[in-house]
């Protein structure tokens, strides 16, 4: 998957100049490089303030609620799979995984 190298740098907290330049040059996707055009915004003052703001947001610690949500989704899926394996219809899955919003 082509996005991974850049995400590695985000995960490790090394969000810096090289990450930004790299991502801005190549984009995230699978579109070939020839198809990419860069906009003047990337080099100007407005662009650099915008990226600085964005990086501030992106480097904030991820709240626990998101990992808990992923765990909940994984668990729900497990229960559904077990229900399917037993020949059930998965109707008990929601009950077993608890209410959608506990708080």
């Amino acid at each position: 998957m082509t996005v991974l190298p850049r995400w590695e740098s985000v995960k490790s907290g090394a969000i810096g100049f090289s990450f930004r330049l790299h991502s801005l040059r190549t984009g995230y996707g699978t579109v070939s490089k020839q198809q990419h055009e860069t906009d003047p915004i990337i080099g100007d003052a407005v662009g650099s303030q915008l990226r600085s703001l964005y990086q501030d947001f992106a480097s904030e610690a991820v709240p626990d609620r998101f990992m808990q949500l992923i765990e909940k989704l994984e668990k729900l899926e497990e229960v559904e799979e077990q229900a399917r394996a037993r020949g059930g219809d998965g109707a008990s899955a929601e009950q077993a995984a608890g209410p959608e919003d506990g708080s």
């Binding site: 995230y28 996707g29 100007d44 964005y54 992106a58």
Partner: protein, 173 residues
Amino acid sequence: MNPSKEVREGLVDAIPNLRAFAMSLCGRSAWADDLVQETLVRAWAKSDSYQDGTNLMAWLFTILRNEFYSQLRKRKREVEDIDGEEAGRLTAAPGQLPNLEMKDFQAALALLPEDQREAIVLIGASGFSYEEAAEIMGCAIGTVKSRLSRARTRLTEILEGDELQSAVGEKVN
């Protein structure tokens, strides 16, 4: 249909970037986190509509921005019922940034129309190409470029002019 390994891992890795995009769009951390949460749930539920090896980040951003516009419409409707004048100010709320320059910049960004703000963030900060941004925003590449150009002009005007002072002043309750 259960999400593939690529989607599962991609979802977790994408969270910081989804939050940054959401914060840039709506300017409020509580709302931004709601948008991210909704995006994760939806992406999980409709993961069979994602084809492995294609552009996962663009797919997730599309879900998030669609959710943003749908919530924005809903909020505007609700607010209009109470006070029509309030509706336009929904997203203009500078957050808790340590640095004054960044606060001003965030306030200026919040003054842009949503479509311009979205274009400038996708291209200028998230690092998407014009093609990817057009796909995410569901419009033509030419539209992306014109929104981006208007956004840049407008932002420069706001930052250089004095409307920021009055706009920020207005929001202090």
